[in-house]
Amino acid sequence: MKSAVVVFPASNCDRDAKVALEQMTGKQPHMVWHQDSELPDVDLVVLPGGFSYGDYLRCGAMASQSAVMKSVKAHADKGGMVLGICNGFQVLTESHMLPGALMRNAGLKFVCRPVGLEVQETQSGFTRHYENGQRVTFPVAHGEGSYFADEETLNRLEGENRVAFRYAEGENPNGSARNIAGILSEKRNVLGLMPHPERVVDDVLGGTDGRKLFQSLIETLS
């Protein structure tokens, strides 16, 4: 599996993503600068967490206009896989590659702690190694992660089984609609989620629940 991690100014989880990909795939991912208009030949593009462009205007808004995003869209349009984590999820909604928006946390506070999630959908290249309903713990670290979409969109997402991860009962850290933590695109080749699977691939870092996401990708893409 060949992968690339996009680096925006003020991305700060790009190296976490790189280390996780290296560890899981045994291969170095390409690090792609946001001004590069062409992507290398890869199977997976990761949009990492961080505060791209200082969160100016809205989280992810400036990054969605950057040169590299045209290529990321083209990659997804051809069926290539895209994983957006935290700020990466915000970039995906701002780019209209995923529906809805991420808003200020309902409690107004930046939340940085492990949260319990339920894997809601295993029929995807990102989640096939998990069990349906499996409880996992991923860390979250965001101030603007409250998922919002109109009722019709929420119903459609649920109807099409595109809610990949939900915050477990009582664990919703940000007021997200219907406890949504991560969603799939219509073609199921784009996943955006607020929690950080790349931070739980090694026991030394406090957990390994994220490994199955990368194992799913490796199996899907090799």
């Binding site: 205007l57 809205r58 808004a61 206009q65 909604t93 701002e94 529906p99 809805g100 928006a101 808003m103 200020r104 946390n105 309902a106 409690g107 107004l108 409250s146 919002f148 979409a149 109109d150 007021g175």
Partner: protein, 80 residues
């Protein structure tokens, strides 16, 4: 030409910041304050003199970048 764009959350979209501002105002003794909604103002300078063209362009700017129309609405004001 100068323009001012007002960006506010759509009705029905939860605004926790507005709520906190309202609570704080109540706490300061402004008991008349009910619901508060906050937003942002963007001032722009534009070249060209056609108001019609400016409005069309500003609308496109709002749709493409200035507002996220999933959650926000916008109003455009042109100033002389």
């Amino acid at each position: 030409m100068k323009a001012r764009v007002f960006i506010t959350l759509k009705n029905g979209v939860l605004d926790p910041q507005g709520k906190a501002i309202g609570h704080a105002l109540n706490g300061l003794g402004f008991e008349s304050v009910g619901e508060v909604r906050q937003g942002k103002v963007i001032d722009l300078e534009l070249s060209g003199s056609s108001a019609e063209q400016a409005k069309t362009e500003l609308k496109a700017m709002c749709e493409k970048l200035l507002a996220n129309t999933v959650i926000e609405k916008y109003e455009i004001e042109l100033k002389g």
